[in-house]
Amino acid sequence: MSDDKYILPLSVTQKIDISRLIRELNLVDDHLKQSSILKPDQKVQLKASTKLTELINLNHINYNDQEVRTSLINWLEKLKASAPVINISFGVEADEEVVSKITQWFRREISPNCLLVVGLIPSIGVGCVVRTNNKVFDMSLKNRLKTTHNLLISRIKQSKVQGNQVQA
């Protein structure tokens, strides 16, 4: 499958990152094309962004090869159009490390080209809420308490009965 041709670095998590990579790659492509016209045999040292550098290093890409560059751009375009996007929200602001670990899990377990949109919902408190295309997976503490609501009520009533017995 062409989607598995390259591997996305963990730092590239969102669709906007893909868009930036595409724009940057197009600029690089133009620059290298012009350089190749001026000096065909000269290898140009690339000064790219961290994410693009990670992408190139991770996939061992020869960016001086125009076909490879074109293939990479096409792959990114295709990825931007069709990659599964998952929204995940936390109660507090998520740092890069956590996002990276979450992304790693999604790309390992769900889809290797999975993209994330990280959001912030303070009312979640503890846990997270994941939204796919058609479903919402509420994995917050609030939802967990709701699912165990009957157990909570029964425990409260039980403790009340025990308290009354103690008073009696």
Partner: protein
């Protein structure tokens, strides 16, 4: 004719002679009677009759008139007094009668009035009793209704509390420990939850 005249003259003479004899006898008898008391009274009567004009002169008549006036006045006064007494008696009787009649009438009216007041009081008491009973029933109904409403409200409040208990506890937990538990600490549980829902997520992504 002559004979008849003769007879008539003889008869007149005879009758005349008889009348003379009777008159003589009568006068003798009268002269014999005057020497007795009856004759005296008769004399006096005759004398009084003769002297009546002297007795009933103007002074005597005036005196008689005065006496008569006095007597008449006395009679009038007596009659007036009697009439006054009678009038007083009648008046007092009339007063008594009026009093008794009016008292009886007033008593009768008072009795009627009292009876009507008693009837009205009985009606009022009956009406009050009915009203009291109705109010009591209404109060019971209202009490039951209010009790039911209170029970319902209580159930609703308890139900709402139970429904919102998770929110309350969640809010409390989030406020209490939300900022203390970092995402790195939660990561293990988040990954475990993701693992739990992995299959559903994959299916949903494949369905696109």
């Amino acid at each position: 004719m002559t004979i008849w005249w003769f007879y008539l003259v003889v008869a007149v003479i005879v009758v005349g002679g008889i009348a003379f004899i009777w008159l003589t006898l009568k006068l003798n008898k009268l002269s014999n009677k005057s020497s007795q008391p009856e004759d005296i009274l008769e004399d006096h009567t005759l004398a009084a009759e003769k002297d009546v004009e002297h007795i009933f002169n103007d002074d005597f008549r005036e005196e008689l008139r005065n006496r008569g006036r006095l007597h008449f006045e006395k009679i009038i006064n007596d009659s007036a007094e009697f009439l006054q007494q009678d009038l007083r008696l009648t008046s007092s009787q009339l007063n008594e009668f009026m009093k008794s009649e009016l008292s009886a009438k007033v008593r009768e009216e008072l009795n009627k009035y009292e009876q009507s007041i008693n009837d009205a009081r009985d009606l009022a008491i009956e009406s009050l009793q009915r009203t009291t009973l109705a109010i009591e029933e209404q109060r019971k109904l209202l009490r039951e209704q209010v009790q039911k409403e209170i029970e319902n409200d209580k159930l609703i409040i308890v139900d709402n509390f139970e429904q919102q208990m998770t929110d309350i506890i969640s809010h409390y937990v989030v406020d209490a420990i939300g900022k203390e538990v970092s995402l790195e600490d939660q990561l293990e549980f988040i990954l475990a939850d993701l693992e739990t829902n992995k299959k559903a997520m994959i299916e949903d992504i494949k369905n696109v």
